[in-house]
């Protein structure tokens, strides 16, 4: 019989006790064959583990539940032991990894809730819906915790622009991210876009959401209390993305297009209603615990809520609102239909909560209750179709210490060994028009980046700046990684990704507070890939410790490879920083004529793994620039101080493309030119295009105090020249018109997307 919310606790115990006898498990379901087990992505030894755990063979539904809970995506079985090494604590950290999103305090009783998550495989299969549902998923992670989303970012990696699939993927992914975020009503304010043939068969779509909550009104997944109603909220359940979770951890073969799961379709309208309804019942104090339904929706959310609370969960699938008829227990437990939540409700608030959801036109159904048995019991058609030990489902998931290969790091390239193929001026013109360095306006103009009226700095600078409520505080947000560095030297590359995010936040004047990561790699069962992962994580951890920049949330996406060809190691870092005065946020644009231009940091002319070396010399060689974390900290602190004290008028960190590209971006952003004088000693191409780290370009009207500040801080400060005119005029080089550089900078992406290149 079906359970009704009206059950007495006693009778529930009896039923669960009954259910625990194996005989209660019905089986008008497919037999569990080795093939079926393999199809579920479970290795034979993992299946053995299941048999030992249960003392019997699992039912079909139970097999599905295990496959969902124990796949890479949900169990982090390959990455767990390494993620544990990351620093996650700081006085301002309220909640580190392990919940739906990380939480940090920013004073005034306010907390920032944020996380980044990948939707790589779904986006490759159906770019618009894949990217859209990726945004929807990360937004739910944030508002599940009681935070109202205030900004989104997205980090995108696509294949070679000339690969036949690339253009359609870019168009679909960007439209999907915009289509969801714009309709939901959150500004999408930052991110990155790169192109490399190594992403030909696996594009990366990493979406980050940031929300604002009151410190004392944050909600968690941990269920408490026995006999509490478990409520299903949001949209109805369909056969969407069944096996999505298992799929998301399966390496692509040539037949990827065949074994595609039913595609999930995003419904931003329902998500917006779900947001408003959830925040309303949270404010009314109806909620004990809440968990969004993401990968393997009902299964993961129910198990997580129970396991975290040391409680059992009894679900009755006959109560689940379904979109389609005749859905099996297996399908309901594994469905990835979007815009759904599971909640443990205060019993006395049930009617109030239901009324709120009805008002918003959303489904609301009591589908089960918490039990004292620590078992996960699922009934369908009155019969028990799953009865599993709830803690073990998570805790006993396999954990692998996979073998990994140390990478032989490459030698440092000597700049003098690299012949400049073209003059400096020609090189700059080429670089600014490259897919990786050109303006991404075509992308971010498809995102509503002004809604909510708090966008202080729009896309186009180093970090987006979002005012908090009516101010005066503001958040700085950025997403960064340099995959070509990570491949050449995963440890230095991991450090660099964190350092660049920290730098971008400092460049707008923000104090970096914490980060979220999205670790995208190939097949971890290959030692060289596992080696990349391990060393990147080591590098990230080292940088986080050195910069007091803890990791509070993150996501791992493995098996990003096709026919044995892996993506570049891509550990995307999403950084969050705080400004006390949004009015003081610094921008990259030159402000007026005749201001002094200085370079902060040391330039050795490091061309190894630079964009210059790759795209102008056609060489992908050498060690990437080393990251001196102590210097990063000194230099960033200096820049932040200069901004706070109003001593400088513009700031821009130096990253891809090197110093002259950074200077050109500052000129293009303002229409004001510059007269530049390279110091002697370093080959000019290495000086202008080397990618040494820990560097910023600043402009000032008050050179003297700036020079003194740098001296006392022991930070190298190099005069480069002055702003002014309409040209980038370098002593001894062909002068370049800023408006012409701007045209080149803006031209490539629109032309490419129009099919003109």
């Amino acid at each position: 019989m079906a359970c009704s919310p009206g059950w007495s606790i006693i009778s529930r115990w009896r039923r669960d006790a009954l259910a625990q006898s194996d005989t209660a498990v019905i089986s008008n379901e497919p037999a569990i064959t080795p093939e079926l087990i393999a199809e579920h992505g479970l290795k034979p030894e993992e299946y053995e583990r299941i048999l030992k755990l249960l003392g019997r063979a699992p039912s079909f539904t139970e097999l599905g539940i295990f496959s969902a809970m124990w796949n890479e995506h949900c169990s982090y079985k390959s990455s767990k032991i390494h993620l544990r090494t990351l620093p996650t604590k700081a006085p301002w950290v309220i909640q580190g990894p392990g919940e739906n999103a990380g939480v940090i305090g920013i004073g005034d009783g306010l907390a920032v809730v944020f996380k980044m998550e990948s939707h790589n495989h779904p986006s490759y299969i159906e770019p618009y819906q894949g990217a859209a549902t990726g945004v929807g998923g990360i937004l739910r992670d944030v508002f599940t915790m009681g935070a109202r989303p205030i900004a989104c970012l997205n980090a995108l990696s696509f294949g070679d622009p000339n690969h036949p699939k690339t253009r359609a993927l870019v168009g679909g992914v960007v439209a999907g991210i915009g289509g969801y975020g714009n309709s939901f009503g959150v500004p999408t304010v930052g991110g990155e876009v790169r192109f490399d043939r190594r992403y030909d068969g696996n594009c990366l779509v990493n979406a980050m959401a940031v929300g604002l909550a009151e410190t004392d009104k944050i909600f968690y997944a941990k269920a408490t209390g026995v006999g509490m109603p478990i409520v299903y909220l949001g949209s109805k359940t369909g056969r969407d993305g069944i096996h999505g979770a298992t799929m998301a951890s399966a390496e692509f073969g040539a037949d990827a297009e065949e074994k595609r799961p039913t595609v999930q379709v995003g419904d931003p309208f329902s998500e917006k209603l779900l947001l408003e309804a959830c925040l309303e019942i949270m404010a009314k104090g109806c909620v004990i615990a809440i968990q969004d339904m993401g990968a393997a929706g009902l299964t993961c959310s129910a198990v997580e809520m129970g396991a975290k609370g040391d409680l059992g969960v009894a679900l009755d699938l006959d109560k689940v609102p379904c979109r389609e008829t005749g859905m099996s227990a297996y399908e309901m437990m594994l469905s990835e239909s979007q815009e759904r939540m599971l909640m443990v409700l205060k019993p006395d608030k049930e009617k109030e909560a239901e009324a709120i959801f009805r008002k918003w036109g959303l489904d609301f159904a009591v589908v089960g209750e918490t039990t004292p048995t620590k078992r996960f019991v699922v009934r369908h058609g009155g019969a028990v179709v799953a009865d599993l030990p709830i803690k073990e489902l998570g805790d006993e998931a396999p954990v692998y210490r996979r073998p990994f290969a140390e990478r032989r790091n490459e030698r440092k390239l000597d700049a003098s060994s690299i012949e400049p193929p073209v003059a400096v001026a020609d090189a700059l013109e080429t670089l600014l028009g490259l897919p990786d360095l050109c303006s991404k306006r075509w992308v971010w103009e498809q995102y509503d980046h002004v809604i909510l009226g708090n966008t202080v700095q729009r896309p186009g600078g180093d970090a987006a700046v979002i005012r908090i409520n009516d101010g005066p505080k503001a958040l700085a947000l950025t997403a960064d990684v340099t995959p070509r560095y990570c491949e050449a030297d995963p440890f230095e590359g991991g450090k660099q990704a964190v350092a660049e995010a920290w730098r971008n936040l400092s460049a707008v004047g923000a104090q970096p507070l914490a980060l979220t990561d999205n670790l995208n790699f190939g097949n971890p069962e290959r030692p060289e890939i596992m080696g990349q992962f391990v060393d990147c994580v080591r590098g990230i951890g080292e940088a986080c410790r050195a910069l007091d920049f803890p990791v509070v949330s993150g996501n791992v996406s493995l098996y990003n490879e096709t026919n044995g060809r892996a993506i570049l190691p891509t550990p995307t870092i999403g950084g969050v920083g705080l400004l006390d005065q949004f009015r003081k946020s610094m921008t990259i644009a030159f402000k007026s004529e005749d201001e002094a231009i200085f370079l902060i940091g040391e330039t050795r002319g490091w061309l190894g793994r630079s964009v210059y070396l790759r795209d102008l010399c056609g060489r992908e060689e050498g060690a990437p620039p080393p990251v001196d974390l102590a210097a990063e900290r000194r230099h960033g602190d200096l820049v932040r101080g200069l901004i706070r004290d109003g001593l400088i008028t513009a700031a821009h960190d130096v990253s891809d493309g090197g110093l002259l590209v950074a200077l050109a971006e500052m000129a293009i952003a303002s229409g004001i030119g510059a007269v530049l004088e390279p110091p002697p000693g370093i080959p000019t191409h290495a000086f202008w295009f080397g990618e040494d780290q820990a560097r910023y370009v600043i402009t000032t009207k008050q050179s003297q105090p700036v020079v003194e500040r740098a001296k006392t801080a022991g930070v190298p400060l190099v005069p480069l020249g002055a702003t002014g005119g309409t040209l980038i005029a370098i002593a001894g080089e062909r002068p370049l018109r800023v408006d012409d550089l701007k045209r080149r900078f803006e031209a490539w992406l629109p032309a490419y997307m129009a099919g003109a290149t």
Binding site: E126, D240, V263, V265, G266, D267, F269, S337, Q338, G361
Partner: protein, 79 residues
């Protein structure tokens, strides 16, 4: 030649639009509607009288552009 290509969502694929329209019709007091699924039609004119050629062109149009065959089916009618 005139042709019509009709593109509809595969069954089982969520149709948020249809769902919203269903609700709206209900609140507008339009009785008895139990399900709405939305699709697209493309009315296309093709020059030349060669039916086979036209059909081939329409098929590739549908496959390459008009339908997203991951989630949609299409039908071609040539008048």
């Amino acid at each position: 030649m005139k042709a019509r290509v009709t593109v509809t969502l595969k069954s089982g694929i969520l149709d948020p639009q249809g769902k919203a329209i269903e609700g709206a019709l209900r609140s507008l007091g339009v009785g008895g509607v139990t399900s709405v699924r939305q699709g697209k039609v493309f009315d296309i004119e093709i020059e030349g009288a060669d039916r086979a050629g036209a059909e081939a062109a329409l098929k590739s149009a549908a496959e390459k552009l008009l339908a997203n065959t991951v989630i949609e089916n299409y039908r071609i009618e040539l008048h």
